[in-house]
Every structure is written in structure tokens, then in C-alpha cells.
């Protein structure tokens, strides 16, 4: 079972492995910085709200459903 972004706990650094889903999503996500190899840390992951992540010097809010499409690998 692949680990996805929505399951990451706050403060745990991880690395992006892959992006799944529709091409439009992949395109939007890639452009804003979600890319295999990039380091990512979750800053906020609460119920009902989008995640807030730190990625490449940028803070990004990403919807939970979209975060499920970002495959990650924990422990940099």
C-alpha cells in the first residue's frame, strides 16, 4: 500500500514519489511544486480542512482529496 500525503503527520518530513490522477490535476500540482523528488513537510492536517504543506520554500493549502493523489515516502 502506497503512502499518500493525506496520511502524513504534522512535522514529519517526507519526499514525493509520484503523482496520480487526472492530467489536469497533475499539471496544476506539478507547476506549483509537487514533483517526484521534492521534499515536503505537513504543517497542518486537521479534519474537514485542506492540508497546509511546506514545499520548496512555499506554503500551500491542498485539499484532502487531492492530497490522496500525491504518493510519498517518509523518512527523507
Amino acid at each position: 500500500m502506497k503512502k499518500t500525503l493525506d496520511s502524513l503527520k504534522v512535522g514529519m518530513p517526507a519526499k514525493i514519489l509520484d503523482l496520480t490522477g487526472q492530467p489536469e490535476f497533475i499539471s496544476r500540482a506539478t507547476a506549483i511544486g509537487f514533483c517526484p523528488g521534492a521534499g515536503i513537510t505537513v504543517l497542518r492536517n486537521g479534519k474537514g480542512y485542506p492540508l497546509i504543506v511546506h514545499l520548496n520554500d512555499t506554503q500551500i493549502a491542498i485539499d484532502k482529496a487531492e492530497a490522496k493523489k500525491v504518493v510519498i515516502h517518509e523518512h527523507f
Binding site: P13, D18, L19, Q22, P23, E24, F25, I26, S27, R28, A29, T30, A31, I32, G33, F34, C35, P36, G37, A38, T41, L43, R44, G46, G48, Y49, P50, I52, H54, L55, N56, D57, T58, Q59, I60, A61, I62, D63, K64, A65, E66
Partner: protein, 703 residues
């Protein structure tokens, strides 16, 4: 040669946009500003062009076109501020416009604005520009936000790694455009530089050259075959369509065969670009940027409980400030309203009544209404601009995303909808903070459903008189129906009419910074200009028509065309349980909700107080009428013989009635489309009649 022949042949700007040949047929020197959101691109545009800028629309499109010019050493330079996007894919109108401009208009230089505090991400746009084959200058912005020691050599290192000229800038530099301007002309004069490009062949393997060979020779002028190939490998719809039509069926099949087994070209493309960026940054250090932690204010601002409370507080403060700023701006408009009385007084003795009424009520009041609304909007746009510029708006969008998602919208839409509660006109004006056209349109069209303060007044009065304690139940029912209505309309719109942009929120939370007043003013002014061109005159025109409808042919509202219309539609009114008097009152809600009560007084003939008020526009303001409304209104209403069921129907019909005149004008100003404005009008009109009818039937059962 005529302009169209000329531009068809050489695709370059020999002739200016309005068709005049520039002296000696010289090319207009043109640059484009490209960059991701929040990089300070607009600030640079404003600094370069100052007052010499113009905001319009890209031909046939709904995306804003910002163009301007400046002079340097006698040379004129035209600047186009391209839409701020994160990349140049075919996924949004804004990106396509930016990319098509670079490819088709071939500006002399593309200035890519990079944020020194967020290098890795903003360099993505440099990758895009370089891949396109444009002639580039990097404006390394926000140098004042990074550690000067660590980044002293950064511009030089980026230049060495890529071959692209780099000019460091600080957004705060107030008037120092000299270095930038000099860099622009220098870079443009040094064309033909070779830049290092992301390694497409390396990342896509043999497929890259296979497709490249097949595509060579079919590419349009000015489009690099390598770029076209990359786009095909990345599944770019727009380029796929373009090349499919240019290449014959058979050769296209070969390309398709090479492309079909490939998957997720977009991901490979991303990896390729970031690898290139990594190489640049390995040679250079960044030393700046943000910690991987929520800043202290954000920890509160994005908190489910505290965040919402802070947002509520911010909203209240914002409205207060907007009113404070608006009042001085609204005074001229209100003054004009009151000037109509003395004007009529002066004219009546010597001119025919119809003329004095036409000038005072028909025209002057329409103009007064336009000016008042104009002032109000300016103030709200300014306050909204402060929220957006400082970065706080993104946090509000974050907090409301879960709620907005349920009705098919995104987080940012909450701002305009909340403003709609004060006044629908504001709500529509407020949609300008939304990034994409589809989201903006989807939100804009929903604003009329949000009840405004004028509406609260009307329903409060009528309900209190006709329903007594049951009024609370009626309010509850209205709230539920409003929420259902907005959800269904929104979901329906997104499903059938406004396609695209379906995915969930992926939004940057930009670092907070102090408001840049110049940028906020520039944007508010440009939006107000847009409103002036369309909205203002729309209000004046329709006000005039309303006046004519309530004046002719008899000189008073009861004998007017509007009354005739009311009587004519009596069967429709009967369905809703509204006699012709109530029906006209309901129609008057079109000019403004506040005017409805005044209209009722006049129509039901409350007596002397009604004498001068034949103009529905002044009804909202008429002191004497207010006296009637506040004083004897309840007794008067109770005596009119309106049944409770009819009152219920009236309340529902008015709550869900047409957008008021000001709102409609604003919708037209924002969408520039009679189609959308007219459709919204029809939709709301029909639904309100249905609502009234259903409420009447329900009322008959209940009362």
C-alpha cells in the same frame, strides 16, 4: 500595406494595435512581463508604466489585458503584463493567453519575474519561458527579503548557469526603475543568446527524437519544434489539436503510435524542469525563504475555531472601514438625489411638467444613483485590495473551503458572497479577487440569491405585520430555502454551464507583507474605470426607462405603463396571489429593494405624503415617505385587505426576485456579456414567480 495584411505576413508588431503605422514603419518595441502569482510582477508593471496603463480585455476573451508604456532616452517601450500563472500549460484560459501572446506576438523581450525568497518554485516559469524559445531577462525580485550576504552572487550565478541576463530588484525600491529599464534595453539589443534548456531528450528518452523528426517541417512560424514535441509528449490538448490539423492523417498515425504507450508525460516534464532548476541552484545558494513551520499568526488564522473568529472580526473591521471611506465618496451622489427637488421646484413654474420630471427624476436621479454606487464600490474594492495584497485573503479562502466545496465553489468565493449580504452590488464587485474566470462567473451569478440589507428591511416589515409571531418561522423557512436555492443553482451551473476547473483546492499561502498602497490603488482605479464604462451608463439608462415606465402616460404611478403592465399580468399575479398593486410593488424591487416599501405606500395610496414621489428612485430616499412607512405603515398595510397568504407570496417573490438594477449593472460590467446578464435576469425572474406561486399555495394551506 494595410494592418491586417502586414500582421498576417510577418506576425510582428510593425503596426500599432489601433491600426496606425508607426513612424517609418518601425516596429513597436514590446516587452511582456511573465511570472507566477505573488512574485511582485504587477508592482513592477505599475512602476514601469505609472499612469500610462490601460486595462481591457483580450479580444473575445474574459481575461484582463493589462498594457502600458514608458519612455526611455526617447525610445517608447510597450509593456504587457501577462496573467500570473504557475505554468504555461493548456489547462486554463489565463495560461493559454500568456503563452499565445509570447508565441504569436513575439515580443522583443520576455521579462520573467522571479521571487528570490521562493527561488525553486518561481524558477519554474523561467524554465517555461526558455523552453518556448523566447528572448528572456530575469528580474530577480524581492532581493530585500533575503539575506544579502548569502545572495550577493545570486544574480551572477543564475546568469552563468543559464546564459540569461539577470537584474536584481527590490520590490520596495520606489522609483528606481533605471536599472531595470537599462537592463531591458540591453537584453533586447543582445538577441540571439543561447540559453541552457531543460534536457527533454534525456528525460523522455528515444521517444523525444522520434516525435521530433515527425513533427519537423509542420510547425507554425515562431514555434520551436522542440517545444511542440515536448507539448505532445506532455499531452497538451491545444498543441495536440493544432498539430493534428497541420499534419496529414498518415504521418499523424506514426506520432500517435509513439505517444500512446507513454504515460504521465506531465510528471516527467515536471521532473525535467526541476532537475534543470536544481542544477542552477546547486551553483548558487539561496539563503533566505521560509521556515518549514506555520508562522505564529497563521497558527491562529488557520485554526478551525480561532481562525473563523478572526475572519469574522476582520470582516467586520473591513466593512466598517469600507463605510468610512465610502461616505465621503457617496456624498456627491446623495447630494445629486436631493438636488432633484430644488431642480424640479425651479423648473415647474416655467416648463412643462413632463420636462421637469424627465430631467429631475428620470435623468438626475439615475446619475445620482450611479455616482453613489460608484463611490461605494470604490471603497469596498480598496478594502478588499488590502486583504488580498497583504496575503490574508488566502487564509480566509482556506477557512471557508469546506463550506464552499459543498456548493460546488472554492474557498475564495466566500468573500464576495459575504459582501453580498451587505449589498449585492458589493458582492459582484468583490468577485474580482477570484483567480480564474470560471470560478468568478460561477460566484458572480450566485450573488443575487444572497439577501441584502434592503431586503431584510422589506421582509421584516411585511412579516411583522402579516404574520405576527409566526414571522420567525417564515424567516427560518426563507433561510432554508435560500441555502437550498444557492446550492442547487451553483451545482447546476457547474454541472451544465460552467465547465472545467473541477479539482479541489491547491492554493499558495503567500508570506504576509505590508500592503503596497500603490498597487491597491492602481487595481481599484482600473476596476472602477471598467465599472464606469459599462455599469454606470447601464444604471442611468435603465433608471430612465424605469422612470418613463412609472410616469407615462398619466403622470403618476397608478396610471403608468408599469401599472398597465401590472394589470396586464394580473393572471400571473393571481397565480402568486398578488393583485396588481402588490405585483407592481414586487416589480419595483428591480430598481432597489429599499424602494419597494416606498412604492407600496404610493401604490396603495397612503395619502398626502405620496404626492411628489412619482419617481421610484427617490422613493428610497424620500423623507416624507419614510414618515409614512415608519409611522402609520402597519395600520395602513393591515387596512389594505391583503391576505396573509398573499403576503407570504409577496415575501417569497421579493426575496428571490430579480437582481436589483445596481447588481445587474455590475454583473454586466464584470461579464461584459449581455448573454450572461440577460440569462441571469430571466432565470431569477422565472424562479421568483414560481417561488411566489408556491408560497401562495402554501400560504392558503397555512393561514
Amino acid at each position: 500595406m494595410s494592418t491586417s495584411e502586414c500582421s498576417a505576413r510577418c506576425r510582428k508588431n510593425c503596426c500599432s494595435a489601433d491600426g496606425e503605422l508607426t513612424p517609418k514603419g518601425n516596429r513597436r518595441f514590446t516587452i511582456a512581463l511573465l511570472g507566477q502569482p505573488n512574485t511582485g510582477k504587477s508592482t513592477i508593471f505599475n512602476k514601469l508604466t505609472g499612469a500610462n496603463q490601460h486595462v481591457g480585455n483580450w479580444p473575445g476573451k474574459t481575461v484582463e489585458k493589462k498594457e502600458g508604456y514608458f519612455f526611455h532616452d526617447g525610445r517608447q517601450c510597450f509593456v504587457y503584463d501577462l496573467p500570473g500563472t504557475y505554468s504555461l500549460t493548456a489547462n486554463s484560459l489565463e495560461e493559454l493567453i500568456a503563452r499565445d501572446f509570447i508565441l504569436n506576438e513575439a515580443p522583443d523581450l520576455v521579462v520573467v519575474v522571479i521571487d528570490a525568497a521562493q527561488l525553486k518554485r518561481s524558477l519554474y516559469m523561467l524554465a517555461e519561458a526558455v523552453l518556448l524559445g523566447a528572448s528572456v531577462l530575469v528580474a530577480l525580485n524581492k532581493m530585500d527579503l533575503v539575506d544579502p550576504d548569502a545572495t550577493a552572487m545570486l544574480p551572477e550565478k543564475i546568469h552563468t548557469a543559464t546564459g540569461v541576463p539577470v537584474i536584481p530588484l527590490a520590490a520596495v525600491d520606489k522609483k528606481h526603475t533605471e536599472p531595470l529599464v537599462k537592463a531591458i534595453f540591453k537584453a533586447a539589443d543582445q538577441k540571439g543568446e543561447v540559453y541552457s534548456r531543460p534536457d527533454a531528450a534525456g528525460h523522455f528518452g528515444p521517444a523525444f527524437h522520434q516525435v521530433l523528426n515527425n513533427v519537423n517541417g509542420y510547425c507554425p512560424d515562431g514555434y520551436l519544434p522542440e517545444w511542440i514535441t515536448l507539448k505532445l509528449l506532455e499531452d497538451d490538448d491545444s498543441i495536440l489539436d493544432l498539430m493534428r490539423s497541420r499534419i496529414g492523417e498518415l504521418p499523424w498515425k506514426t506520432i500517435e503510435e509513439t505517444l500512446s504507450p507513454l504515460e504521465k508525460g506531465v510528471v516527467k516534464g515536471g521532473v525535467m524542469r526541476y532537475a534543470w532548476i536544481e542544477d542552477i541552484l546547486a551553483a548558487a545558494e539561496s539563503g533566505g525563504g521560509r521556515n518549514a513551520a506555520l508562522n505564529r499568526f497563521d497558527a491562529w488564522a488557520t485554526h478551525p475555531l480561532w481562525g473563523n473568529l478572526i475572519a469574522l472580526g476582520a470582516f467586520a473591521v473591513g466593512i466598517l472601514c469600507a463605510y468610512l471611506i465610502a461616505i465621503p465618496m457617496m456624498i456627491p451622489g446623495i447630494g445629486l438625489f436631493f438636488a432633484s427637488y430644488p431642480l424640479r421646484g425651479i423648473m415647474e413654474p416655467c416648463c412643462p411638467i413632463w420636462l421637469s420630471s424627465l430631467l429631475a427624476d428620470g435623468l438626475l436621479c439615475g446619475v445620482a444613483m450611479g455616482v453613489t454606487i460608484f463611490g461605494f464600490i470604490g471603497a469596498v474594492l480598496f478594502v478588499l485590495g488590502v486583504f488580498e495584497n497583504t496575503g490574508y485573503l488566502a487564509r480566509v479562502a482556506y477557512l471557508f473551503d469546506p463550506f464552499m466545496k459543498r456548493i460546488g465553489l472554492h474557498g475564495k468565493s466566500i468573500m464576495p458572497l459575504l459582501m453580498g449580504i451587505i449589498c449585492n452590488i458589493l458582492g459582484v464587485a468583490g468577485t474580482r479577487v477570484i483567480d480564474t474566470w470560471q470560478q468568478r462567473l460561477a460566484t458572480l451569478v450566485l450573488v443575487p440569491i444572497v439577501p441584502c440589507k434592503g431586503l431584510f428591511m422589506v421582509i421584516a416589515f411585511v412579516s411583522a405585520i402579516f404574520f405576527g409571531p409566526k414571522a420567525l418561522l417564515v424567516f427560518a423557512l426563507l433561510t432554508v430555502v435560500t441555502l437550498l436555492y444557492i446550492s442547487l443553482t451553483s451545482l447546476g451551473l457547474r454541472r451544465f454551464f460552467i465547465k472545467g476547473d473541477r479539482s479541489g483546492m491547491i492554493m499558495e499561502l503567500p508570506p504576509y507583507h505590508k500592503p503596497i498602497w500603490r498597487d491597491i490603488m492602481a487595481y481599484s482605479l482600473s476596476r472602477m474605470k471598467a465599472f464606469y464604462r459599462r455599469g454606470f451608463w447601464f444604471i442611468v439608462f435603465v433608471s430612465f426607462v424605469c422612470w418613463a415606465g412609472t410616469y407615462y402616460p398619466g403622470g403618476s404611478i397608478n396610471s403608468s405603463y408599469l401599472a398597465a403592465v401590472g394589470r396586464f399580468f394580473e393572471p400571473v399575479g393571481a397565480l402568486m396571489g398578488l393583485d396588481w398593486r402588490l405585483f407592481i410593488s414586487y416589480l419595483v424591487a428591480f430598481t432597489s429593494k429599499e424602494a419597494t416599501l416606498g412604492a407600496m405606500v404610493v401604490i396603495f395610496g397612503a395619502g398626502a405624503a405620496a404626492s411628489g414621489a412619482t419617481n421610484v428612485n427617490t422613493m428610497a430616499m424620500d423623507k416624507a415617505l419614510w414618515g409614512a412607512v415608519h409611522g402609520k405603515f402597519d395600520a395602513f398595510l393591515a387596512s389594505t385587505g391583503i391576505s396573509s397568504a398573499s403576503a407570504l407570496a409577496f415575501v417569497f417573490a421579493v426575496t428571490f426576485s430579480l437582481p436589483c438594477l445596481g447588481t445587474l449593472a455590475m454583473i454586466y460590467a464584470e461579464t461584459r456579456s449581455l448573454k450572461w446578464t440577460g440569462s441571469a435576469l430571466c432565470y431569477y425572474f422565472i424562479i421568483s414567480i414560481l417561488m411566489g406561486a408556491m408560497a401562495y399555495q402554501a400560504g392558503l394551506l397555512i393561514f
